[in-house]
Subunit: 387 residues, 4 copies
């Protein structure tokens, strides 16, 4: 069973993950993983921290000569900046009286975390709660994506909106694959507008969020479950997305729009497909069909239906504003301005990258549960045998 366990603090030694359940025989490409890590650090509107860290993955175990062994894969993304923080962060002993953060930042885990863990320094909370944790999730997710790719399952995504600038067009999977702009948007003129919005927010000491759209192509029908509610594909993928820092909403297919329309404008009719009209396999139903639309986003009854999976995730603006937010100081009990710990204005492209990794990880889990198997060859044979 695929399972990802992560560890690591933002200014600690690094970020770490153990990825269990990847079958033996998957070929990895470290440069590809590093490219994803770079993407996670990029995007118009990012701040200085991203220049300090040039994330690279180190594979610690589970892989020999770039091929998985079937054993747990341990990954590290070392924090280059640790040298400067060692004095305040070292597990082995350090000065915890420095670098304290007591002006608890709205929108972050600071205050709830201090209460929960009985801490008087929000650093002891924020170091782990930081979205820097996603660096190693991206690395692990990229390995999962490789696994899916070996089966012909592809994931793509793009930035659908930045703040109020929203792209209402539809794009094919191939069009999305081609997005490689500074913000990850598909429409360049809208992206320019979005960049201007970011510039404005930056000038105002403010921040922006946005919406990412994710797609999965090549997933056969029947993944997920209509029998056990906790195993529904939509529930699992949405939990994965919602577990990404800053996500406040998720949608499948039409999403909230489906609630506004009447049924005949929502459900995807099933039509016979002329080309495949004669094929029929075993005891099962008619296979030669096409869908008029894909409003369901590829999921019906908690299972993939063979169409593209369409997901959207809404990211709130980064909660650390250069102009500060009103808060209190946990030490003095006095009103205070929250201090900027990092200074991205907009990280929607990074978020989109993380969302892809989160989807890849959860989907690989779902796929491997249904296929079982210990080697990539076995997985391929079994996936190929599915209708």
């Amino acid at each position: 069973m695929i399972r990802i366990t992560t560890a690591g603090e933002s200014h600690g030694k690094g970020l770490f993950a153990i990825l269990e359940g990847i079958p033996a025989g998957l070929k990895l490409d470290i440069a590809e993983i590093d490219a994803r890590l770079a993407l996670r650090q990029s995007g118009y509107g990012r701040g200085e921290r991203q220049k300090i860290e040039r994330d690279r993955v180190e594979i610690l175990s589970g892989v020999r000569n770039l091929t998985t062994l079937g054993s747990p894969i341990a990954l590290a993304v070392w924090n280059c900046d640790y040298e400067n923080w060692k004095e305040y962060m070292a597990p082995e002993g350090c000065d915890v009286s420095k670098r304290r953060l007591t002006k608890v930042r709205p929108g972050h885990a600071d205050l709830a975390g201090m209460l929960k863990y009985e801490q008087n320094d929000a650093r002891n909370v924020l170091e782990r709660a930081s979205a820097r944790e996603t660096a190693v999730r991206v690395a692990a997710g990229e390995i999962c994506r490789r696994l899916l790719l070996a089966l012909g399952i592809e994931i793509a995504g793009y930035v659908k909106s930045v703040g109020s600038v929203s792209d209402e067009n539809s794009y094919t999977f191939d069009e999305i694959l081609k997005c490689s702009s500074v913000l990850g948007m598909a429409d360049i003129s809208l992206e320019k507008e979005a960049c201007r919005l970011i510039d404005g927010a930056k000038a105002a000491g403010d921040t922006l969020g946005g919406v990412a759209e994710l797609r999965v192509r090549g997933l056969k029908s029947g993944f997920g479950s209509c029998m056990t509610y906790a195993e529904k594909l939509d529930a699992r993928l949405c939990a994965a997305l919602m577990s990404v820092q800053a996500i406040k909403g998720v949608e499948v297919g039409l999403g909230f729009e489906a609630a506004r329309r009447c049924g005949s404008a929502v459900h995807d009719e099933i039509l016979p497909s002329p080309e495949e009209g004669d094929k029929r396999v075993g005891n099962g139903p008619f296979r030669a069909f096409i869908r008029s639309t894909n409003n369901a986003g590829g999921i019906e009854g908690g299972m993939s239906n063979g169409e593209e999976i369409v997901l959207r995730a809404a990211m709130k603006p980064i909660p650390t504003l250069m102009k500060g937010l009103r808060t209190i100081d946990a030490d003095t009990r006095e009103p205070a301005l929250s201090a900027p710990e990092r200074s991205d204005v907009c990280a929607i492209l990074a978020c989109e990258t993380v969302c892809e990794a989160a989807v890849a990880a959860e989907l690989a889990k779902v796929v491997c549960e249904r296929l079982g198997g210990d080697t990539m060859d076995e997985l391929k044979r079994r996936y190929g045998a599915l209708r």
Copy 2:
């Protein structure tokens, strides 16, 4: 650890659940559970099936003299209609050549399920995939709600929109508690409009969905996790909601609106609270604070922050339309019209009821993981001791 396992088919003997991990000493009220079951069957726009079944819960185990024992609680909601279906559905032997459904219904599990389970009769899939499964989830969820209530944690919800009729007002928790109208909306004039919309859809042989808003009051801060992404409160609650049949989108707090605004219009500033200004406990941070707003919907950094939890779920229109949808017949391979298996026009109030149960179940799980304990008294002591 609280865990709910459900079973049962729509026209089988009944719906069943085993609810594990409820501490000893919780007093139950069967009438209250039955009232929830009735609510799940009510709502303007419901069809004939709801008149056939008058759901009542039977407690099979885990409870003695209306008090939980700490042992697994088995629940049954028997299908009154089983007598009429026995001949076609009995586990012990029956005629499976009758009541076949081969005109696979768009929007349902029918087609993907037939392929997955190698069936030539969609009945073998739809009987379990049916939303009737939620009857027993509501019963189990109601027990979880009792547990939460014993700790002072309340759940409420209302219908925010029906199709295009949307209520943009905000309501206090107490105002929501008072909703008891035919559609579960808070604004009676809007509800009238919604009823007319339903009438229109009915006349057209069409269906409608809507949006439910859920609230949790009295949940202390620190539930969920900022340390392990799979344990984030928002991820868990949203998965619970998304696992409810027909849900296509979920939001926390501002949700998608958060992605449109700039950061200073999203994050909930923290202000000192005059009344409690002198209280401070142990090593932890300043406690006397209030929030200017609750755009976060009570969750920051994957944890409850002490404010009300605010969630929204979008329900798609019921996929069985009286006027039918184009599809194919799995037997003949010919184009066909999908046959109505049930005939609700709008089930948003039922859906809202189920969403409350789903939230109650997941939240009770989260709460009990943090509190541990074997008896309700122990839970109450521990919850009381939390800041």
Copy 3:
């Protein structure tokens, strides 16, 4: 994923289970399950309670016309005796001041359970802790055995010892399959001796335990894991056995004897097999081999190695003695004699039956995790394709 969840009290309405993850298309035979339930109630040395209950399984869901649907299978073994206990046990309301048990019985859950669940009546604990719970585990286990059988994997077992009467012979799988004596022993003369021992214990108001040996035949190699310690086949099967009431020790293969011998007398050498000398498949190792011995009991490195699985479980004597055991009365704080709640002298054959069910359940789980799949046909194809 296969998962069994049980519920039910000894004198409540019945025992219940939900069995998830059984693929679609498994044919069930209710008479076969009932035969197992009868076996669980049989054996020389059993008492009166077994005559009160004639256990039969009722399938509540997940099965249509004796064929599994892939949906959760709910099972009930109704307690015939409930009618007589309703007054004291009904979930809906009853008189809990009757049938109290306060003379806490050594060897049972009574005392620890009363403290844990803050009860002043051990009945609130013992009703669930009772080995009667295993009735429904046997029913569920029998379904798992059917699944395994469909793949050619067989489970058998026999009683190896009763108290001090121990059978030191070895038996082939087929010899074990033939055991159908009153105590489940393979050597009839030893069994006679064991019966006399039971008679003596009965006369003395005492009780006896014994050892059961379990075997699995037809399991291909590679089930379990050498990569993740919690997934080791031996760890999982032993936990399953140890979870059976009254088991105090478990062994694989030579078990404790392996610790006494030197290595050259323990490890099973690998020899070429003349018949299959030319077969070789793909990239993998030489396949034509035989083992000189099976001291490992079919498990090496946490995985099945293709030989028969050999397990033993030691059952302690039943802790309810007709002559009583010294204890205290939880009400009066006075010394007391523990009161007999039931009166079996020896239940080793029942225990052996339960152990088979426990092994079947865990093994089916392990098998399905590796094979994945949604239908029995798919499982058979995948199992057949394994080397």
Copy 4:
């Protein structure tokens, strides 16, 4: 929830673990962990590999200034020997044609693993299956032991037998704590005998196993479950022990001996305790009692009963014999002698150390599930409040 995930290969970069769920505020002592690691490498009869590696733990995350943060704790035990193996083992690229092992070793994972993972080099299996994996389990287990110690729960163990030399005496917990001999036995004259046995086995190119006994003191009653079979304390602890490499049998209390005795010679009678006769708390039962014996090994009905936990684990002899074992060569299909990969004659003290770690880890898990909580102070308060 406490969870340990391990990774790492025997000649790879190191062994790694992520330990989740340790509350905030636990003080660690790295020297203490390293002392355990040294113990795991020690013991009369160990070979050369143990001199190559001088294991030390490195804490990678989850700890600041020697105090846990509540975040996942990543641990590394780096392999000093990796420098010499890099060329053949590096994840990033290496020469896999060297250091192949094809003479599959009986008693190891080699053969089953090669078939399962479709490998033609047993190295790709044995590197992970190796007992070297336990180094990091010991490190993680030591952290769990610290947690337990903070609650007053102690674990101790000793070597009860080496091959045929068995110590039949009983020892108090304090006597066991004092064991610090070369083999970890409690009786020095028996230990001398055991050393001679080891010398003999070494001379003969053979190996030896043994039995370790584990004890837990200070565990209050009610840990584990009498309500859900998979949560029984005995089942969980025995699975933990059985998951340790080379363990073939486990016992609780009297273990297999209980199956030989009659009930009156097994069950631990409950007697009033004179000193505490007047204390009684709340609604629960009489508390002032003592046990005549501890044959149950501290577990009744799947729960701790307040007495010392007594466990025994049987270790088979190490399967790598200097004199070799007959096997086949996977390449040539010819008969062969298995090649020694390492050369310990007896590793029972190491095994005992690992067993303590395995018990500590599982017990900490059980304890934290019942107590919940986020900080050590909270755990202590809750544990203190238990009866």
